[in-house]
Symmetry: C2
Subunit: 143 residues, 2 copies
Amino acid sequence: MLPTLEEFLIQLRNKKFRLSKERLNTLKYLYENQCHPTADQIHNALHKDMPSLSKTTIYNTLNALVKIKAVRAISIQDNEIRYDIIVKNHGHFKCECCGTIFNFEISIDDFPSHRLEGFQINDRNVCFKGICPRCLLNKNNSD
Amino acid sequence: MLPTLEEFLIQLRNKKFRLSKERLNTLKYLYENQCHPTADQIHNALHKDMPSLSKTTIYNTLNALVKIKAVRAISIQDNEIRYDIIVKNHGHFKCECCGTIFNFEISIDDFPSHRLEGFQINDRNVCFKGICPRCLLNKNNSD
DNA sequence: GTTCCTGCAAAAGCTTTGCAGAAGA
DNA sequence: TCTTCTGCAAAGCTTTTGCAGGAAC
Protein backbone atom coordinates (compact mmCIF):
# COMPACT_ATOMS: atom_id res chain seq x y z
CA MET A 1 0.00 0.00 0.00
CA LEU A 2 2.76 2.43 1.00
CA PRO A 3 5.27 2.98 -1.81
CA THR A 4 8.97 2.42 -1.20
CA LEU A 5 10.94 5.38 0.09
CA GLU A 6 12.50 5.82 -3.34
CA GLU A 7 9.10 5.97 -5.04
CA PHE A 8 7.97 8.38 -2.38
CA LEU A 9 10.95 10.66 -3.01
CA ILE A 10 10.32 10.66 -6.75
CA GLN A 11 6.74 11.74 -6.14
CA LEU A 12 7.99 14.57 -3.96
CA ARG A 13 10.53 15.67 -6.54
CA ASN A 14 7.75 15.82 -9.11
CA LYS A 15 5.92 18.16 -6.81
CA LYS A 16 8.99 20.47 -6.81
CA PHE A 17 9.85 19.51 -3.26
CA ARG A 18 13.56 20.20 -2.79
CA LEU A 19 15.43 17.35 -1.22
CA SER A 20 18.06 18.77 1.11
CA LYS A 21 19.80 16.32 3.41
CA GLU A 22 17.79 17.71 6.33
CA ARG A 23 14.59 16.90 4.49
CA LEU A 24 15.84 13.53 3.33
CA ASN A 25 16.65 12.50 6.88
CA THR A 26 13.31 13.72 8.15
CA LEU A 27 11.50 11.72 5.48
CA LYS A 28 13.61 8.66 6.14
CA TYR A 29 12.78 8.93 9.82
CA LEU A 30 9.05 9.30 9.16
CA TYR A 31 9.21 6.38 6.78
CA GLU A 32 11.08 4.05 9.11
CA ASN A 33 9.32 5.14 12.29
CA GLN A 34 5.64 5.14 11.61
CA CYS A 35 4.96 5.88 15.23
CA HIS A 36 3.45 9.33 14.78
CA PRO A 37 6.33 11.31 16.19
CA THR A 38 6.12 14.92 17.29
CA ALA A 39 8.43 17.51 15.73
CA ASP A 40 10.47 17.36 18.89
CA GLN A 41 10.89 13.59 18.73
CA ILE A 42 12.09 13.80 15.15
CA HIS A 43 14.50 16.54 16.07
CA ASN A 44 15.91 14.59 19.00
CA ALA A 45 16.42 11.51 16.87
CA LEU A 46 18.13 13.29 13.99
CA HIS A 47 20.11 15.68 16.13
CA LYS A 48 22.62 12.96 17.06
CA ASP A 49 23.91 12.60 13.52
CA MET A 50 23.23 16.19 12.46
CA PRO A 51 24.10 18.37 15.42
CA SER A 52 23.47 21.54 13.45
CA LEU A 53 19.90 20.54 12.56
CA SER A 54 17.45 23.10 13.78
CA LYS A 55 13.93 22.57 14.97
CA THR A 56 12.78 25.37 12.69
CA THR A 57 13.84 23.23 9.76
CA ILE A 58 11.89 20.26 11.08
CA TYR A 59 8.79 22.42 11.35
CA ASN A 60 9.39 23.91 7.93
CA THR A 61 9.78 20.45 6.40
CA LEU A 62 6.73 19.01 8.13
CA ASN A 63 4.53 21.96 7.24
CA ALA A 64 5.65 21.78 3.62
CA LEU A 65 4.91 18.05 3.53
CA VAL A 66 1.47 18.58 5.05
CA LYS A 67 0.73 21.29 2.51
CA ILE A 68 1.42 18.96 -0.42
CA LYS A 69 -0.48 16.20 1.41
CA ALA A 70 2.44 13.81 1.65
CA VAL A 71 2.18 13.73 5.41
CA ARG A 72 -0.76 14.06 7.74
CA ALA A 73 -0.80 16.13 10.92
CA ILE A 74 -2.88 14.61 13.67
CA SER A 75 -3.64 16.04 17.06
CA ILE A 76 -5.03 13.40 19.34
CA GLN A 77 -4.63 15.25 22.61
CA ASP A 78 -2.33 17.27 24.81
CA ASN A 79 -2.03 20.15 22.42
CA GLU A 80 0.75 18.49 20.51
CA ILE A 81 0.93 17.76 16.80
CA ARG A 82 1.98 14.37 15.53
CA TYR A 83 3.02 13.53 12.01
CA ASP A 84 2.24 10.53 9.92
CA ILE A 85 3.30 9.36 6.48
CA ILE A 86 -0.04 8.95 4.79
CA VAL A 87 -1.33 5.38 4.89
CA LYS A 88 -4.91 4.58 4.01
CA ASN A 89 -7.47 2.80 6.11
CA HIS A 90 -6.13 3.00 9.59
CA GLY A 91 -7.17 4.33 12.94
CA HIS A 92 -5.11 5.50 15.88
CA PHE A 93 -5.03 4.27 19.43
CA LYS A 94 -3.26 6.39 22.02
CA CYS A 95 -2.25 4.76 25.27
CA GLU A 96 -3.09 7.13 28.10
CA CYS A 97 -0.42 5.51 30.18
CA CYS A 98 2.75 5.39 28.07
CA GLY A 99 1.67 7.80 25.33
CA THR A 100 2.44 5.40 22.51
CA ILE A 101 0.26 5.64 19.44
CA PHE A 102 -0.71 2.42 17.71
CA ASN A 103 -2.18 2.03 14.25
CA PHE A 104 -4.99 -0.38 13.66
CA GLU A 105 -6.64 -1.43 10.45
CA ILE A 106 -10.05 -0.03 9.81
CA SER A 107 -11.89 0.79 6.62
CA ILE A 108 -12.65 4.37 7.39
CA ASP A 109 -13.92 4.98 3.88
CA ASP A 110 -16.75 2.55 4.50
CA PHE A 111 -17.65 4.40 7.61
CA PRO A 112 -21.29 5.43 7.50
CA SER A 113 -21.71 9.14 6.94
CA HIS A 114 -25.26 9.42 5.70
CA ARG A 115 -25.73 12.14 8.32
CA LEU A 116 -23.26 14.31 6.45
CA GLU A 117 -25.05 14.84 3.18
CA GLY A 118 -24.02 18.11 1.63
CA PHE A 119 -20.64 18.06 3.33
CA GLN A 120 -17.43 17.60 1.37
CA ILE A 121 -15.32 15.15 3.37
CA ASN A 122 -11.58 15.53 2.85
CA ASP A 123 -10.16 13.60 5.74
CA ARG A 124 -11.42 10.91 8.09
CA ASN A 125 -9.85 10.16 11.44
CA VAL A 126 -10.65 7.56 14.02
CA CYS A 127 -8.87 7.97 17.34
CA PHE A 128 -9.36 5.72 20.31
CA LYS A 129 -7.80 6.19 23.71
CA GLY A 130 -7.22 3.76 26.49
CA ILE A 131 -4.54 1.50 27.89
CA CYS A 132 -2.32 -0.73 25.81
CA PRO A 133 -1.68 -4.40 26.65
CA ARG A 134 1.80 -3.76 27.99
CA CYS A 135 0.65 -1.07 30.41
CA LEU A 136 -2.30 -3.23 31.47
CA LEU A 137 0.16 -6.00 32.30
CA ASN A 138 2.43 -3.70 34.31
CA LYS A 139 -0.56 -2.39 36.19
CA ASN A 140 -1.76 -5.88 37.14
CA ASN A 141 1.72 -6.92 38.20
CA SER A 142 2.07 -3.97 40.53
CA ASP A 143 -1.26 -4.71 42.26
CA MET B 1 -29.94 11.39 26.11
CA LEU B 2 -28.34 14.44 27.68
CA PRO B 3 -29.81 15.21 31.11
CA THR B 4 -31.22 18.65 31.84
CA LEU B 5 -28.81 21.25 33.14
CA GLU B 6 -30.35 20.90 36.60
CA GLU B 7 -29.78 17.15 36.63
CA PHE B 8 -26.28 17.74 35.39
CA LEU B 9 -25.57 20.18 38.22
CA ILE B 10 -26.87 17.74 40.81
CA GLN B 11 -24.54 15.07 39.47
CA LEU B 12 -21.65 17.50 39.76
CA ARG B 13 -22.57 18.49 43.27
CA ASN B 14 -22.59 14.81 44.21
CA LYS B 15 -19.06 14.61 42.93
CA LYS B 16 -18.08 17.42 45.34
CA PHE B 17 -17.75 19.88 42.50
CA ARG B 18 -18.19 23.38 43.95
CA LEU B 19 -20.61 25.53 42.02
CA SER B 20 -19.31 29.07 42.01
CA LYS B 21 -21.04 31.53 39.70
CA GLU B 22 -18.02 31.39 37.38
CA ARG B 23 -18.40 27.64 37.12
CA LEU B 24 -22.16 27.82 36.77
CA ASN B 25 -21.88 30.23 33.86
CA THR B 26 -19.23 28.11 32.19
CA LEU B 27 -21.43 25.03 32.51
CA LYS B 28 -24.45 26.89 31.25
CA TYR B 29 -22.47 28.07 28.25
CA LEU B 30 -21.21 24.57 27.49
CA TYR B 31 -24.71 23.23 27.87
CA GLU B 32 -26.37 25.81 25.65
CA ASN B 33 -23.58 26.01 23.07
CA GLN B 34 -22.67 22.49 22.15
CA CYS B 35 -20.35 23.81 19.49
CA HIS B 36 -17.07 22.57 21.00
CA PRO B 37 -15.76 25.95 22.07
CA THR B 38 -12.16 26.66 22.99
CA ALA B 39 -11.33 28.06 26.43
CA ASP B 40 -10.85 31.41 24.73
CA GLN B 41 -14.29 31.37 23.10
CA ILE B 42 -15.93 30.60 26.42
CA HIS B 43 -14.00 33.39 28.07
CA ASN B 44 -14.96 35.89 25.39
CA ALA B 45 -18.61 34.99 25.65
CA LEU B 46 -18.80 35.17 29.44
CA HIS B 47 -16.54 38.16 29.80
CA LYS B 48 -19.30 40.55 28.70
CA ASP B 49 -21.48 39.82 31.72
CA MET B 50 -18.61 39.01 34.06
CA PRO B 51 -15.82 41.47 33.28
CA SER B 52 -13.70 40.20 36.15
CA LEU B 53 -13.77 36.61 34.91
CA SER B 54 -10.27 35.33 34.30
CA LYS B 55 -9.08 32.84 31.75
CA THR B 56 -7.25 30.98 34.48
CA THR B 57 -10.62 30.22 36.05
CA ILE B 58 -11.97 28.95 32.75
CA TYR B 59 -9.01 26.61 32.43
CA ASN B 60 -9.32 25.55 36.03
CA THR B 61 -13.01 24.80 35.59
CA LEU B 62 -12.54 22.93 32.33
CA ASN B 63 -9.67 20.85 33.65
CA ALA B 64 -11.66 19.98 36.74
CA LEU B 65 -14.63 18.95 34.61
CA VAL B 66 -12.45 16.81 32.38
CA LYS B 67 -10.92 15.14 35.42
CA ILE B 68 -14.33 14.03 36.70
CA LYS B 69 -15.32 13.09 33.16
CA ALA B 70 -18.23 15.51 32.91
CA VAL B 71 -16.68 17.17 29.89
CA ARG B 72 -14.49 15.85 27.13
CA ALA B 73 -11.44 17.61 25.73
CA ILE B 74 -10.97 17.08 22.04
CA SER B 75 -8.14 18.28 19.85
CA ILE B 76 -9.04 18.01 16.22
CA GLN B 77 -6.28 20.14 14.81
CA ASP B 78 -4.40 23.41 15.07
CA ASN B 79 -3.01 22.72 18.48
CA GLU B 80 -6.10 23.99 20.21
CA ILE B 81 -8.24 22.20 22.75
CA ARG B 82 -12.00 22.16 22.42
CA TYR B 83 -14.46 21.20 25.10
CA ASP B 84 -17.61 19.21 24.84
CA ILE B 85 -20.34 18.27 27.30
CA ILE B 86 -20.29 14.50 27.04
CA VAL B 87 -22.89 13.14 24.63
CA LYS B 88 -22.79 9.56 23.44
CA ASN B 89 -22.64 8.26 19.91
CA HIS B 90 -21.52 11.21 17.92
CA GLY B 91 -18.70 12.13 15.62
CA HIS B 92 -17.18 15.50 14.82
CA PHE B 93 -16.84 17.26 11.52
CA LYS B 94 -14.55 20.29 11.34
CA CYS B 95 -14.98 22.67 8.44
CA GLU B 96 -11.54 23.59 7.13
CA CYS B 97 -12.97 26.81 5.80
CA CYS B 98 -14.92 28.43 8.64
CA GLY B 99 -13.61 26.31 11.51
CA THR B 100 -17.05 25.32 12.76
CA ILE B 101 -17.37 21.91 14.33
CA PHE B 102 -20.51 19.94 13.64
CA ASN B 103 -21.75 16.87 15.48
CA PHE B 104 -23.14 13.98 13.58
CA GLU B 105 -24.77 10.83 14.80
CA ILE B 106 -22.72 7.71 14.59
CA SER B 107 -22.69 4.56 16.67
CA ILE B 108 -19.08 4.60 17.65
CA ASP B 109 -19.56 1.92 20.26
CA ASP B 110 -20.46 -0.58 17.58
CA PHE B 111 -17.35 0.33 15.73
CA PRO B 112 -15.41 -2.78 14.82
CA SER B 113 -12.30 -3.07 16.94
CA HIS B 114 -11.32 -6.68 16.56
CA ARG B 115 -7.84 -5.43 15.70
CA LEU B 116 -7.53 -4.06 19.21
CA GLU B 117 -7.81 -7.22 21.25
CA GLY B 118 -5.96 -6.85 24.52
CA PHE B 119 -6.42 -3.09 24.54
CA GLN B 120 -8.65 -1.37 27.08
CA ILE B 121 -10.62 1.24 25.17
CA ASN B 122 -11.71 4.22 27.27
CA ASP B 123 -12.65 6.74 24.64
CA ARG B 124 -13.60 6.62 20.98
CA ASN B 125 -13.40 9.59 18.66
CA VAL B 126 -14.34 9.99 15.05
CA CYS B 127 -13.26 13.23 13.43
CA PHE B 128 -13.85 14.12 9.83
CA LYS B 129 -12.59 17.25 8.12
CA GLY B 130 -13.73 18.96 4.99
CA ILE B 131 -15.98 21.76 3.87
CA CYS B 132 -19.45 22.41 5.23
CA PRO B 133 -22.46 23.06 2.98
CA ARG B 134 -22.51 26.79 3.68
CA CYS B 135 -18.85 27.28 2.74
CA LEU B 136 -19.33 25.10 -0.35
CA LEU B 137 -22.18 27.39 -1.39
CA ASN B 138 -20.13 30.56 -0.85
CA LYS B 139 -17.30 29.05 -2.82
CA ASN B 140 -19.52 28.23 -5.79
CA ASN B 141 -21.12 31.65 -5.73
CA SER B 142 -17.76 33.39 -5.88
CA ASP B 143 -16.64 31.38 -8.92
C1' DG C 1 21.74 32.90 -11.50
C1' DT C 2 17.28 32.20 -9.26
C1' DT C 3 14.80 30.41 -6.12
C1' DC C 4 14.10 28.28 -2.07
C1' DC C 5 15.99 26.25 2.37
C1' DT C 6 18.44 26.58 6.82
C1' DG C 7 19.02 28.14 11.36
C1' DC C 8 19.38 31.74 14.73
C1' DA C 9 16.85 34.83 17.61
C1' DA C 10 12.74 36.69 18.80
C1' DA C 11 7.84 36.66 18.97
C1' DA C 12 3.35 34.62 19.32
C1' DG C 13 -0.13 31.53 21.18
C1' DC C 14 -2.13 28.59 24.40
C1' DT C 15 -1.91 26.50 28.88
C1' DT C 16 -0.04 25.88 33.52
C1' DT C 17 1.82 27.33 38.03
C1' DG C 18 2.48 30.01 42.42
C1' DC C 19 0.32 32.59 45.54
C1' DA C 20 -2.61 35.83 48.29
C1' DG C 21 -7.17 37.00 49.03
C1' DA C 22 -12.09 35.58 48.60
C1' DA C 23 -15.91 32.56 48.57
C1' DG C 24 -18.31 27.97 49.00
C1' DA C 25 -19.77 24.11 52.02
C1' DT D 1 -13.84 27.04 60.13
C1' DC D 2 -11.85 24.50 56.69
C1' DT D 3 -11.31 23.71 52.20
C1' DT D 4 -11.29 25.05 47.67
C1' DC D 5 -11.76 28.63 44.02
C1' DT D 6 -10.45 33.02 41.80
C1' DG D 7 -7.48 35.96 39.35
C1' DC D 8 -3.15 38.24 38.72
C1' DA D 9 1.49 37.78 37.14
C1' DA D 10 4.94 35.03 35.53
C1' DA D 11 6.65 30.96 33.52
C1' DG D 12 6.51 26.92 30.32
C1' DC D 13 5.84 24.79 25.87
C1' DT D 14 5.11 24.31 21.21
C1' DT D 15 4.97 26.56 16.94
C1' DT D 16 5.64 30.59 13.87
C1' DT D 17 8.04 34.59 11.86
C1' DG D 18 11.86 37.68 10.12
C1' DC D 19 15.97 37.66 8.11
C1' DA D 20 20.82 36.88 6.45
C1' DG D 21 23.63 33.45 4.59
C1' DG D 22 23.85 29.19 2.02
C1' DA D 23 22.40 25.27 -0.77
C1' DA D 24 19.48 23.15 -4.49
C1' DC D 25 18.11 23.21 -9.18
